[in-house]
């Protein structure tokens, strides 16, 4: 008999998205529910750091306290079963899928658990659906070559969270005793950069802290040797604004922090590394597609599985309110298809129909896409709002758009003049 946890969810039935979102979508002859192609697993439910801004442990949702420390093999097997079931059922709609082993700190699960899970997921996936395995880590355990050998053997890509230089990293990313993590993380990155493991290194991920100097932070991230860098706007919303947020007073502190980095990055040839945020804005401005959540209108096709097997919505929602990612579903009794018509899933696959009236009438809506979903939250109206970063995103997007399109036009004119 399976024991399922008792979860109390604050009553928010009146907040958007309600069941009405799903009902309206089903009445739309041009809409159909999409399968999930990204699966984020809470592979290990605890962390060896105690970062003070962590959305999993330090923000509104505290459900981690009721969940197992680590995902058991029984749960891994059941996730693999559901994964295979879902990918086979939708093979004709799916070009590929990814499983991200996430935490907490995922590497705490250990080498054997990674090997076990990788085999289970690859064996479960149909042969005609390419499956990519990836993990996100704080980097502290990357100097363990036994672990890295397993990641290499099973082709598991690595994203490392790093906030910049020593001062920037140690400001928030600390051990419970207050000691900074910079030295251990950089030691891990040094090992990851060795020729045997270098191909595993996907990305270094930086949460913006306005207290850090932007260019110093950018240069520190480049110095890791990562092939790509990304900047994350800290999670926050209209009811609980991000740190240092100035838009309420007409400011654009986050755009003002990012624009000097964009200018440095854009002007450097050869390009030292990709910067995913900037590349995606430029790509959208030039008519392409974004490959990251939080920009553009591409449908969001991700689902989260917690360490106890519960199926949840995108885990950034933990920053909004207690129970925000909760679905009531569990891989032991539900298929992933059971989640496809949840209002919180449908709302993120409705493109313009899933935006607030202000966003619908905005000239840059197709690029901004109303920002990262959790940042739209306001107590009372739910997620049918612009992002709390609306002013910052508008300034950053317009800056990048003007810079890129001016250069495209100049190059086109030069080419025309050259005959």
């Amino acid at each position: 008999m399976i024991e399922l946890p008792i979860v109390r969810v604050k009553e928010r039935a009146a907040e958007w998205p309600t069941q009405n979102v799903t009902d309206q979508a089903l009445e739309d002859p041009y809409w159909r529910p999409l399968p999930f192609v990204e699966f984020a697993l809470k592979f290990h439910g605890r962390c060896n750091l105690a970062c003070d801004y962590c959305y999993m442990y330090e923000m509104a949702d505290q459900s981690w306290k009721n969940k197992p420390v680590a995902m058991s093999r029984k749960t891994i097997d059941q996730v693999a079963f559901r994964l295979g079931e879902h990918l086979r059922a939708h093979a004709d709609e799916i070009a590929g899928a990814s499983v991200r082993m996430h935490g907490g700190e995922a590497l705490l699960a250990g080498a054997d658990q990674f090997a076990y899970a990788a085999r289970a997921f690859r064996n479960a996936a149909p042969s005609d659906v390419p499956l990519r395995l990836v993990t996100t880590t704080n980097g502290v355990l990357l100097s363990d070559e036994n672990l890295l050998n397993v990641l290499r053997e099973h082709r598991i890509g690595v994203t490392v969270s790093l906030d910049g230089d020593r001062e920037g990293q140690n400001r928030h990313r600390k051990y419970a005793n207050g000691r900074g993590s910079y030295d251990l993380v950089m030691r891990g990155i040094e090992v990851l950069n060795r020729p045997d493991y270098r191909d595993l290194f996907d990305l270094v991920l930086c949460t913006i802290d306005l207290e850090n100097d932007p260019l110093t932070t950018y240069e520190a991230l480049l110095a890791t040797g990562a092939p790509a860098v990304d900047f994350l706007l800290p999670l926050g919303n209209w009811s609980s604004p991000p740190p240092g947020w100035t838009a309420g007073d007409g400011g654009t502190a986050y755009a003002d922090w990012l624009i000097p980095i964009f200018e440095r990055w854009y002007s450097t040839v050869p390009l030292p590394a990709g910067v995913r945020l900037f590349e995606n804005i430029m790509t959208l401005c030039l008519g392409g597609h974004a490959y990251t959540e939080g920009l553009g209108l591409n449908p969001f096709q991700l689902i989260v599985v917690e360490s106890d097997g519960t199926i949840e919505l995108g885990d950034a929602l933990k920053s909004a309110y207690e129970g925000a990612p909760y679905t009531g579903l569990n891989v032991f009794r539900n298929t992933f298809d059971d989640a496809r018509l949840l209002p919180g899933v449908v709302a993120r696959q409705r493109k313009v129909a899933g935006l607030s009236p202000i966003c619908v009438s905005c000239s840059i809506r197709d690029i901004c896409g109303a920002g990262e979903y959790s940042t739209r939250y306001r107590s009372g109206s739910g997620f049918l709002n612009p992002s709390v970063y609306c002013a910052d995103l508008a300034k950053l997007i317009c800056h990048i758009r003007d810079r890129a399109l001016t250069d495209v036009e100049r190059l086109r004119a030069e080419r025309a003049a050259a005959g």
């Binding site: 192609v37 990204e38 984020a40 799916i94 070009a95 590929g96 899928a97 990814s98 991200r100 996430h102 390419p130 990519r132 990836v134 996100t136 890509g157 996907d202 990305l203 991920l205 990304d230 994350l232 990055w265 854009y266 450097t268 040839v269 050869p270 390009l271 990709g274 995913r276 900037f278 590349e279 430029m282 790509t283 401005c285 030039l286 008519g287 392409g288 597609h289 974004a290 490959y291 990251t292 959540e293 939080g294 591409n298 969001f300 991700l302 995108g314 885990d315 950034a316 197709d366 690029i367 758009r401 890129a404 399109l405 250069d407 495209v408 036009e409 190059l411 086109r412 030069e414 080419r415």
Partner: protein
Amino acid sequence: MSEREGNLVRKVALTAAAFAAASAVGVGAAGAASAAESSQANLSEVAATTDQNSALGAVLNRVTADDDVFRPAGTFNR
């Protein structure tokens, strides 16, 4: 209008500031798709003249090769 045509039309709309051909968007599916392909060709030509090691060159290549298929690293950015 096919999905591909729809994507191309969107590209025209979004690159309106750069390409006069975008003004043809309102003339119907066939005309719009034709204008879109023209605009796409323009982008490809500009991409060919851009330093491939620059940010703009890298992005132009990505846009002109954009096939709207699944990207294996995923969109999850946590």
